[in-house]
Amino acid sequence: MADINITSLGKVFAGTPALQDITTRFEDGEFIALLGPSGCGKTTLLRLLAGFDMPSSGTIRIGARDVATATNMVPPEERNIGFVFQSYALWPHMSVRRNVSYPLEIRKLTKPEIAAQTDAALAATGLTEYADRMPSDLSGGQRQRVALARCLVSAPDAVLLDEPLANLDVALRASMQAVFTDFHKRTGATMVYVTHDQAEAMAMADRIAVMNQGLIQQFDTPQTLYERPKNRFVAEFVGRGTVVPVKAVEQGENQLHAHVLGARIAVESEAQSQVSHVCLRPENLAISETGDLRAKVARVTYLGGKYLLETVSSCGTRLLAETRAKFDVGAQLGLTITTPWAFSED
């Protein structure tokens, strides 16, 4: 069990920065998701935490120990960290049991101890009956469970997972997510989980770090990320919505008002009066005949139980709304905006 402290961490690959000045803290026992578009540095950050790569600048502290500083670096084999790879990285020449027991052999436990702990890990991941198979004879989900068992068996301080479910189909993903959440509850280990699937991140993580271009854009609970995005990137990347500029912001009694798409409405924000944009999510748009924002339906997508309407407002902005009633493409409707989230963006 350990918390992870990262200070001014940077990583440069052949002159191009992959991570820039990251400072953050993962609490002990937290389930953290790293979310971001491809190439934003998620894997890089994870590999620095694991010790596979050396930071170009900054420090990493796990528990009470500095594992990477400007001058010194603890090699991965001495960090007591678990790593689950997207490609599983099972050793093809070892049986399932040997794959799982190998970390214990390294730690020079006695034979009976190894057997007992291996059995426990196999049972916890539901692999008991596959113990004597070779990894090549397992399905993708079973392989990922072996990888998890291998990482669980040595009781690591923290577990790092790099898109562990990316190779699996949708149904299997859901059941494996339950396996991971379960694992987290039982062991209480700090977990850092890389994914580019935001539904997955929302479903599992206590807090999500949204990354872009080597920077953490926002690090908050899933709910905060969705409802109170800090900037345009987070607002557009997490959930559905449109970011539009605001004008003539005014601080009222205890409410902020602004001009949005020609209408004067109340907005919510953290930074008083310094806001420049709002994020219009479907929840912020109510459909009504009398709505002062006129829009035309451009596309209708059925989401199951409700429809997503892609509309184009009279001023040319695309807005997303949700309804239970069906509209036809081309239909005219009125929209009312209710207290959207505003933020400042330069």
Binding site: D53, M73, P75, P76, E77, R79, S87, H93, I106, A147
Partner: protein, 567 residues
Amino acid sequence: MQSALQKGGSRSESRLLSVILILALCLTLAPVLRLFIEGVTDQGVPSLSLAKSVLAQGSTLNALKHSLITAGLGTLVSVVLGAAFAFLVALTDLRAKAALVFCLMIPMMIPPQITALSWTQIMGPSSVLLKTLGIAPPLGAPQPLYSPEGIILLLGIQHMSIIFLTLRAGLRAIPQEVVEAARISGARGFRTWWQVVMPLTLPSLAAGTAITFVTALGNFGIPAMLGIPAGYVTLPTLVYQKLAGMGTTVLAEVSVLAMLIGAVAIVGILLQRFFQGRQNVYLVGSTSRPLAIPLGSARLPVEILLWAVVFVILVLPMFGLLATSLVPAYGVPLRFDTMTFVSWGEVLFRQPVTARAFANSFSLALGAAVVLMIICLPLAWLMERHPTRLSRLFDSLLDLPYALPGVVLSIAMILLLIKLPFTDATLYGTIWIIFLAYLARFFAVMFRPVQASLKQLDPAMAEAAQSVGAGLFQRLRDVILPLSAPAAAAGAILVFLTAFNELTVSALLWSSGTETLGVVIFNLDDSGETAMASALAMTIVFVVMALMTLIQLFSRRFPKGVVPWQT
């Protein structure tokens, strides 16, 4: 060093890499460097006077001319034969391709002195096979192979597999769609070949031609067996004759000759590199099916023709060798009543020299295979993980001792080891000089397959072990070694095979008591014991074929690029 620190979590890896890398550098490149220094100095001071006087000698120029003629024209023969086979095998729907390819590889694996010996057994007045068939030329007629033409022909046959392999690899990289696109546009049979396939394969053909020329230039067995009786001397045989005749007193002189061969070879190697770099640039990433153009009604005649060629260049000489090994005295025709295994019994069980040679060759080959495996496995892995400037340099130079003619390496080894630094001891004349020369020469044979298999290995394999706490040696032992074992085994068998048959290096380095099998065959033939030489050669051919079959049987289990004749 900069990049070594960036990647990889373990400092012990960088440290181990430096240690093994320095060892490997000393092993492979120190001799070459030593030779270079010898060539440009005279008694310790920089001077080119000796080089000038040796290069001005008539015998040097003559040998250089002969070398260039035989290697050049021999390469031409290889190109014609190898390219014809490669185009037909790679592009058309011939049957039994695997068997054909296997048979075409045998000439490359059979040592040149045996090739020469076997061909002399099917030609000339004293050929047992021709006598048996009653078609031998009259006594006193010349042996037609003891001539430049004979050398050219055999060099051509010996090295056609190199052209075949490189060209076939290039052809296989051409996706079917490219040819189909040409056909859709209206190009027909020969035109497709000429205008689409040929231009795409030209770089591989050129690369193959260059390396074939280098190999032919360094060939010692064929010009020695065929050229020396005819008084036709090439550079490698000139070096051999000088060294055998006058011993190490002419060391400085032969160093200049070795440098001369080396210089010509380096030009060839650079050309090969250049063309290899241009290979497949526009076809990266193609994974589609290889070509199989239907030959239609021409298929059977073409197949018959190809197998007939295989029969002539492979089976016929072997029959000649076998026939000679079964007669009581050279020149007696083979009949049921004259057939005898006396020569076999003599070489295999009675002659102390051959017994010693078997023991020497066997232990040299086995030792080289084992030591090289121990060095190459960790080295290849660490070089893959920590590409430093030094390791990249080494990567580009490590083929040199193998690609350079054997004569060059032998002279370099003598120079390096004749007087060990700080002592009066010498390794010259001991078996250790041959052993070290083999390590240098066959380093690439072991290293490249291991490297190929490790490149295909997911780096996460080792990282997973690292993350559960396995240290460097545990990772090497428990993960890297087992996963690259098939490739290492294939590399070891190849090293064993080539070292077991080796002649060129040991011909210059042997002394009484350290004969190798190659030397013994050469000497037996030289002293007229042709029947015994044939029996010994036959034995070696069987060993070669058995080992090749072994590799073939397991070839499915090897990663791509490990077995040289499976591309």
